[in-house]
């Protein structure tokens, strides 16, 4: 088979980081080529080089065995390279057709020829079998559809080689299946696809070959069918990794957290929680599955006291904490790993020591009268760094100098140090690589095994399925399903997450689940 892309000895250095260290990558024509690596392994940097967004310090790129030189994205597009970014580049208030022609609008005299734009969309969507409505506003269509628009847009500009940067991160399981179908049909029509991800399962499912990166270097390129997930994980992390956390069944104890008939509004004042009730027992992980934006954020914020409620009550170990401040709830034994670690969980411009202190600054042994005992703080900071294996040059480093995984470890370490009775873990592994995810999962299960309670909120179905003893599904501010571990399948959860009115084994009409 012919080579579509060859990258030779690509070197790209940023201040302090060698992001790409003599990377060689060969992608054959008409294959789906996986690019696998942990965060910071250099995947995105490499693809930015290929798509003309960034210029390599060394190395060369060959397309169809011809040397090319990209000065800009336009050069790359001109050579048939299209990139669909993790964050879509679409204008929410424009229609699909308007977004489509943005940048090279068809004209009729001095006005825009929207009819032609619409026809272009319809024509392309028929040719590639990708259904989109040219007149729908971007903000009104689901994320999967938006992604389709991005893919079509790249195709319309003559893309032969499609780069998809972590395309599944924002999709529901059903949408992921649809995306796979699109990818396969594109491959069959002769397109070459480079698929960036750090999820092993996706590599196994969709790719023909895979190149694994680690620390800015290529570990190996292999045929997907010749390797197992364990092999790939080992290549990616550089050691053996436990992909599925072992946890034995436990009999749940007393109720630790009880939420009754909770109602709340989102930031725009629209109802986000409509009568949510749930309970979490000691020694139990309760997982809340759902597509982002179905009230999970509001639920966490109301439980932790960061958002005011419109009605309902929250009990911690039988104590009504509904009207307490966040600090009082924290002291009462509520731990919180927030979903947005950079905005909520950490003060990014604080040192690690200062970040470990967050919420502890008024308690012994750190508070000494009006002063902070930085000696104590630094000792505790060093201990936490060691215990939770935070990769950092030292405790004085600012939080934003750390990788996402290490930032998360700081938060997890701090919340465990609080010794909470109940831990609210919101998206605890979002954006984390395999090794860091494994670590956080192990910690959560250890915590549960100490007869503590965990409320886990995650958009990752596999995470929910792997960790939870009980699973609740949230849709449009309501709990629409409840399952014991083992009863739930990804398909069933996926349907409920998408709002299907299917009955569940427990019956979703119950108020308290």
């Amino acid at each position: 088979m012919a080579t579509a892309v060859e990258m030779r000895n690509i070197v790209r250095q940023f201040p302090g980081v060698l992001a790409n260290d003599h990377i060689c990558l060969e992608v054959e024509k008409g294959e789906i080529h996986g690019l696998l690596g942990e965060n910071g392994a250099g995947k995105t940097t490499l693809m930015n080089v290929l798509s003309g967004l960034s210029v390599p310090d060394e190395g060369e790129i060959l397309l169809d065995e011809l040397l090319v030189n990209f000065g800009s994205c336009l050069d790359a597009i001109g050579h048939g390279i299209g990139m669909v970014h993790q964050h879509f580049m679409l204008v929410p208030v424009f229609t699909v057709a308007e977004n489509f022609v943005l940048g090279h609008e068809p004209r009729k005299g001095i006005t825009l020829d929207m009819q032609q734009a619409r026809e272009l969309v319809i024509d392309l969507s028929q040719r590639f079998g990708l259904k989109v409505d040219p007149d729908a506003l971007i903000r009104d269509i689901p994320v999967g559809m938006q992604q389709r628009v991005e893919i079509l847009k790249a195709l319309s500009r003559g893309a032969e080689i499609m780069i998809l940067d972590e395309p599944t991160a924002v999709l529901t399981p059903q949408e992921v299946e649809e995306l796979y179908a699109i990818m396969r049909s594109l491959r069959d029509s002769g397109h070459t696809i480079i698929f960036i991800t750090h999820k092993l399962q996706e590599i196994m499912e969709i790719t023909d070959r895979v190149t694994v990166l680690r620390d800015g270097r290529v570990v190996d390129t292999v045929e997907t069918k010749d390797v197992s997930q364990e092999d790939l994980a080992r290549m990616m992390v550089g050691r053996d990794v436990v992909l599925r956390v072992e946890k034995e069944k436990r009999e749940p104890g007393d109720i630790q957290l009880r939420v009754e008939h909770l109602r709340a509004s989102d930031s725009r004042g629209l109802p986000a929680l409509k009568d949510v009730s749930l309970e979490v027992r000691a020694g139990e992980i309760v997982g809340i599955a759902g597509v982002a934006g179905n009230g999970q954020t509001e639920l966490v914020e109301v439980i932790t006291g960061l958002r005011s409620k419109d009605g309902g009550q929250v009990f911690l170990q039988g104590l009504d904490i509904s009207d307490r401040t966040p600090r009082q709830r924290m002291y009462a034994g509520l731990g919180h790993i927030p979903e947005d670690r950079q905005r909520r969980g950490l003060v990014m411009d604080f040192s690690l020591t200062d970040n470990f202190l967050l919420g502890f600054e008024d308690s012994a042994p750190f508070a000494k009268g009006p002063l902070l005992d930085y000696g104590q703080a630094e000792r505790y900071s060093r201990e936490s760094i060691k215990m939770f294996d935070v990769r950092t040059p030292g405790p004085d480093v600012l939080a934003h100098a750390l990788s996402g995984g290490n930032q998360q470890k700081v938060i997890v370490a701090r919340e465990f140090h609080r010794d909470p009775k109940v831990l609210i873990a919101a998206q605890p592994t979002r954006g984390l690589d395999v090794a860091a995810t494994e670590f956080v999962h192990r910690k959560l299960v250890e915590f549960r095994n100490q007869d503590r309670a965990v409320l886990l909120i995650s958009m990752e179905l596999t995470e929910i399925l792997d960790l939870s003893d009980r699973i609740l599904v949230m849709y449009e501010g309501e709990i629409v399903g409840s399952f014991e571990a083992g009863q739930a399948t990804p398909e069933l959860l996926g349907l409920l997450m998408a709002g299907s009115q299917e009955e569940t084994p427990d019956g979703h009409e119950e108020g308290v689940v």
Binding site: D21, L306, V347, L357, P370, L372
Partner: protein
């Protein structure tokens, strides 16, 4: 390959020389400003060398000049600390000028109207100035915390209210008007005056109070619980909220302290230099204070350094005008250039950090080779 691996090892994370970035940024900003200022002078057919010589002669040429430099530096230290403290809590206090005037007014009143023993009188006058400035700062702080009214607007507005009050106080028939023809307050009693500490100059002990205050502010910000909370609110209000820090309370307090620092600036000017209150005793120190704080990168040590620089510019410019016949307005240009070059620190900083990283890695490589 081995070479690049070596490089990676030494360049990940932050360098041990990173504490140099701040000072380097400061010095580079100032140097660039002086170079650009020289070009400016050159274009207007003045001799830059002569001008700068005159400038520095005016700042350091004699005992009296040095004293004048330190005299202008003093209120700028307080004012710079005031602005920096506000910024550390995420608040832009543009009302320092008003707080200086109000602080001076309160200190002057206590200084001439009350008859007390020295050990009480002087501290009380200074504290009175601090309290007046603090209250004046706390008002915008409260409005921001409670009603989300932007502090830039309220602090500026409150300045003008103070200026009018000040004018009224010493106008004919005003409550603080002295028994003479001038629009000034009565003289401050000797028991409330700051001592002059250098024979033959106007320099008072104010500069020492300023330096001690800088140390106190540093200690407050980086060693106390309250300082920690204010910095958390300043860097990330949402993270502070998550941690249960009462950010509204912190805002009001930070603005009180910020205003109080401005108030002390005014008190020290009145008690140590003018010995009476008059409306225009501050030649815009409160405005320069913003530049001082920014140039000092919001760090008390940086504030002292940049206040010194601004003191040099202020006192040197007068002599420069006299000796070299160059308008002292060139100093305004220089000031603007310094602000310009340091305000672009977002551009300069990564370059500096990169340079430091490269320097350390070269060093390490040499070490590992030997």
């Amino acid at each position: 390959m081995t070479q690049s691996r070596e490089l990676r090892k030494t360049t990940t994370g932050t360098s041990r020389l990173n504490f140099l970035v701040g000072p380097m940024q400061f010095i580079l900003g100032v140097l660039l400003a002086f170079v650009a200022g020289a070009l400016f002078l050159f274009v207007f057919q003045e001799d830059p060398v002569e001008a700068y010589q005159a400038l520095f002669k005016g700042a350091f040429g004699s005992k009296r000049y040095i004293a004048e430099t330190l005299l202008s530096m003093t209120p700028l230290v307080f004012g710079g600390l005031a602005v920096a403290l506000g910024f550390r809590c995420g608040l832009f206090n543009m009302g320092v000028e008003g707080q200086i005037v109000l602080g001076g007014m309160a200190a002057a009143y206590i200084g001439y109207a009350w008859d007390l023993p020295r050990v009480i009188h002087l501290p009380l006058a200074i504290l009175g100035g601090a309290f007046a400035g603090g209250v004046w700062g706390a008002i915008p702080g409260y409005l921001k915390a409670r009603h989300r009214i932007h502090e830039v607007i309220t602090t500026i507005m409150l300045n003008y209210i103070v200026f009018q009050i000040a004018a009224y106080m010493i106008a004919v028939g005003g409550p603080m008007k002295a028994d003479n023809e001038l629009p000034v307050s009565p003289d401050i009693l000797p028991t409330a005056q700051l001592v002059r500490i250098w024979e033959g100059t106007r320099m008072s002990a104010g500069i020492f109070i300023a330096l001690v205050t800088a140390i106190v502010v540093w200690f407050f910000l980086f060693k106390t619980r309250l300082g920690y909370k204010m910095r958390a609110v300043g860097f990330s209000p949402s993270a502070a909220e998550y941690a249960g820090i009462k950010s509204r309370q912190m805002m009001v307090l930070a603005m009180f302290f910020s205003g109080a620092l401005g108030g002390i600036a005014g008190a020290v000017e009145v008690l140590g230099l003018h010995y009476k209150f008059y409306a225009a005793f501050s030649p815009g120190y409160g405005w320069d204070a913003i530049a001082v704080a920014l140039l000092g990168l919001l760090h008390p040590v940086g504030v002292v350094a940049s206040a010194f620089l601004f003191g040099v510019l202020r006192s040197g410019s007068i002599t420069m005008q006299a000796i070299a016949q160059i308008s002292k307005d060139i100093v305004l240009v220089l000031t603007a250039l310094i602000i310009f070059f340091t305000a672009t620190n977002k551009t300069i900083r990564p370059i500096l950090e990169g340079a430091i990283v490269r320097a350390t890695s070269r060093q390490d490589k040499r070490k590992s080779e030997t």
